[in-house]
Subunit: 321 residues, 2 copies
Amino acid sequence: MPLRFAVPAGKSLVTCLIAGLFLSATAYAYAKAKAKSAPANVTQVAQASKLNLGDIVKNSSAADWRPLDPDNTLYLNLEKGRVVIELAPNFAPNHAKNIKALVREGYFDGLAIVRSQENYVAQWADPDEKREVKTAKRKLNGEFTVKYPGNLPFTRLPDVDGYAPQVGHANGFPAGRDPKAGTAWLAHCYASVGVARGTDANSGDGTSLYVVTGHAPRQLDRNITAVGRVVQGMELLTTLPRGTGPLGFYEKAEERTPIKSMKLAADVPEAERSKLEIIRTDTATFKSIIEAQRNRGGDWYKVPAGHIDLCNVPLPVRPQK
Amino acid sequence: MPLRFAVPAGKSLVTCLIAGLFLSATAYAYAKAKAKSAPANVTQVAQASKLNLGDIVKNSSAADWRPLDPDNTLYLNLEKGRVVIELAPNFAPNHAKNIKALVREGYFDGLAIVRSQENYVAQWADPDEKREVKTAKRKLNGEFTVKYPGNLPFTRLPDVDGYAPQVGHANGFPAGRDPKAGTAWLAHCYASVGVARGTDANSGDGTSLYVVTGHAPRQLDRNITAVGRVVQGMELLTTLPRGTGPLGFYEKAEERTPIKSMKLAADVPEAERSKLEIIRTDTATFKSIIEAQRNRGGDWYKVPAGHIDLCNVPLPVRPQK
């Protein structure tokens, strides 16, 4: 049985993308794992959850999901397929607006992925730095944090985080929060999308975007404008050959991956849209997912972690029902 | 300037692999960034470091580095190049020994990478499950934790970790530690290598190995035998096409990546070895690296994190001098 590893494959159709793992529904009996030790951050000995991600998703109701908003969903169309990105206008309103303007004027069409750095980011831009910006702004102030959007539910993780006073999820996005300062910000997790900038904090405008392709570089939080996340198609970006130049930039033009086009979903005929729905993060179901992942049960896990890192919380995505 | 992002490329020749980022020597003046906020886990307001990784490495002495031990270094030879893996016999003595026996009897030669799951692991094994084991053992007890090896220096990180009472580095490996239980274990970071197993805790034997290719799945810590880490060649594994079967297994034989051979460095003629040295983790220099990464300075960073995640600590590797 050399192929053995982890729990067996589930039957769920959910594409679980993929701030975490997809250890889906199993045929095994629940919760045989016994807690053997308690991590530092829990006061009680961790107990294996009686639920698992796959079953929670399977038993979820329609109200536990929301469709992607076509007005805030971008398609990065590559030769090999489509990368679906959801913007987070609550966290970076001006940048989200400007990126939509750039997309609508066709700014990215025919440009390229210019950089792929191992365990860090892939980045796209105009490699010749000649593309004209027509309607979008060329100067924006950084949106590294926002005043906490009070109307946006925040499902706080129960565990400690080293990078932020509080972490959790708001409308499907991993985020940090500082109650004393009254600020919130998108966290740099795997699949997070941000706006490249120079040393000037206000030098990013959305003409060059990056996606995190490695272990979460959370030190970027509050230092650069994060603007959304990839919800489908990460494998199109993570498997790109790494650039051999400094910072993973490609050294030759032919090494770059061309961008066929970048479109706002709302501008694409409905029949051609990627109709996806994502788990809502303001529900009891989502809290169950977090608990199940904090203390994984089933036959395979022997020691529940009693903890989950913000960037390991799964955010399931599936075809819209 | 659409290509702008992060600090500029350094001049260091160090291949910084790659539990962290490679933000190398910069031409900028130091420490202009001002601390603007303090994360929850520090009692003082974070101050930007006056040092940076690139300069610390540049100014390091020969005594800050150690060569890879040929008796504990494996070469996974693929058509596109060599993946260099260092075993950690202090943490998994029986598995390290058994894997070396498997390698020496040629067990992996001609087998294949059978699985690549997005943001999780790549795994290699005998896809036909027919390869005979000659001299190695077919049954080993799991080595999920070890009695803390008292003779092995442990450079503890100053920050909180959600998955372990203490985390730090021992002989170049990221590790967790539980002083009360007197145990230690390798942490599952990006590039960590482990031994696949079934639901039986003692069912892994080293005939199927995995490497972490995504955000650290630390929930695996203390649940499976981690045995080492990739120190060079991660990009050969992370860029593999993802498998479309359950758990990222390839569905067709031709999708798999063949393994030309797997060798112990000591068995390879000296002229053909990858002569690398890795930063020592029991030195003042390494502590400086940690401090510089906890509170990155330079012109680019505006808000030092005041924290570093275990799996974001860089472990520089370079050609042996």
